[in-house]
Symmetry: C2
Subunit: 296 residues, 2 copies
């Protein structure tokens, strides 16, 4: 029997959503990017729409503070809205929880949601609470972006340089609960029309880069020696740990030199590769036998 465990999440999502329209009526871009894009009430801006969920045992533990769990749940969505070049507007929260969970713990989780809403200027607009066997938080977020500045995964072209913000790997040491979505950096990139394609790194560069390249109908070369690695981590951690919530984006060679000179943030910015012709196989440089991609 074909199940989620033996078919793989990407494959299942593709199967389940294969019939969903990618563009229909008010929906300009459907499944397949960090957020859906919907036409807004004006011609100047579009709405971004996203759902994301975290579960106890998978994304956080019973020992983690509620404040950090709430922050994480909301910040993951902010990161997705940012990765499209948008600002978060509003979130609604589904809390599925065992009936034995203390109100104090739930309140702490909600305070974490609130601290993220304060930090990133969106409103918590509605909630749903249901009894369940396992604590799960599902957040849906609405954002907004200027119509001509939305950054899709599909806008890259062969020759575009690939950049990442921050350092990669080691998220389980704590960063997965405390990361700061790169909203300012993403808005600066979108406003300056410097990036051609963008996404946030939620599953690790080794999983996410092939997604961006595929959406842009490109292949890629990845420069292993330049990848910014969190102190104490290995290259494998940087490629595969996931939950970095850094930005991965493509940028034309011409814009790349402007980008490097004008980057106004303390956040590290590193060129890690290049998009190539779709006829070429993805290449890890130097070709050192590192086979992380093949294992997936």
């Amino acid at each position: 029997m074909n199940t989620l465990s033996n078919a793989g999440e990407d494959s299942i999502i593709q199967t389940l959503t294969a019939r969903w329209p990618r563009c229909s009526g008010r929906m300009l871009h459907g499944v397949g990017d960090d957020c859906a894009v919907l036409s807004g009430g004006s011609t100047k801006s579009v709405l971004l729409f996203k759902t994301d969920a975290i579960a106890e045992g998978s994304h956080f533990l019973p020992t983690h503070p509620g404040l950090k769990i709430g922050w994480k749940a909301a910040a993951r969505c902010v990161s997705d809205i940012a990765a499209m070049g948008g600002k978060p507007l509003s979130a609604v929260v589904t809390l599925a929880t065992p009936q034995t969970t203390s109100v104090r713990r739930l309140d702490s989780i909600y305070r974490g949601l609130e601290s993220c809403a304060d930090a990133y200027s969106f409103t918590l607009s509605g909630g749903e609470t249901i009894a369940s066997q396992q604590l799960i938080l599902s957040i849906a977020m609405l954002g907004e972006a200027p119509q001509n500045r939305v950054l899709l995964r599909s806008g890259g072209a062969p020759g575009d340089h690939l950049w990442v913000t921050g350092k990669l790997g080691g998220s389980l040491r704590g960063k997965h609960l405390t990361f700061r979505p790169r909203l300012d950096e993403a808005l600066w990139l979108a406003h300056g029309q410097l990036a051609t394609a963008m996404m946030d790194l939620s599953d690790g560069l080794a999983s996410d880069l092939p997604r961006l390249a595929k959406a842009s109908r490109c292949s890629f070369d990845l420069f292993l020696e330049t990848i910014p690695i969190t102190r104490g981590c290995s290259l494998e951690h940087a490629l595969g740990d996931g939950e970095d919530f850094e930005l991965l984006f493509a940028c034309s060679p011409k814009a790349s030199s402007r980008l490097a000179a004008a980057w106004p943030f303390r956040t590290e910015l590193t060129r890690v590769g290049v998009l190539t012709s779709p006829k070429k196989a993805p290449t890890l440089l130097p070709t050192c036998g590192f086979d992380h991609f093949k294992k997936r």
Copy 2:
């Protein structure tokens, strides 16, 4: 220790969301109604935003067909959007599922979502899938309404007549999986500016009417003998079963006579009570000793 099981859902939600603003920036109405209301890109329309979830074991059983489970999950949100006088635009879906669930069953659930999207003209715009111990579907829906036609729970006044659509009770015999949200009826009421306050009946009249009355700062008289009861059900079922997904609305006495004459639908329409001064205690007429409200 204070937990969800001993404090009650309404009380917990109030505690958890007490700090959330009811009105802030683009958010015109926050928690406390069927949907949140956000200002849209134009001055003519507003956005409605809602999240809702169903869990296996509580809202559906492993023996229920996936098609009906998907329909139910989406139709519950449509009912909430309708109850505000809006049309659904777009939904995003969080599927939390045990890894042993067959892809065939998940596909059937997704076909149920799609049939609801087709029937009510909204798009399925994005999805999130996570592994969990229990099958849970959380749907967030975005809708739209003309700015001056949004129907809140809080618009009622003493003297307004109370009406319900359809028949109440007995949802567990099957209707909870197959109900048709009263979208056309709700849009007609909103367009004609006939209702002063409206909500959908999800928890049963005995729970929901006090919520509408409280939001409108009113008390109420309920005419027990007029309540439209599903064939084979008792009054207690009609008051308490929940998951009717019928409309409950208030209407001025003057508009009530127009309403009854002009109602163009085959859907039954019944006057079940009246909003009264908040100084009066809620009254069940005839005062027959039925104490369903007191037990809650």
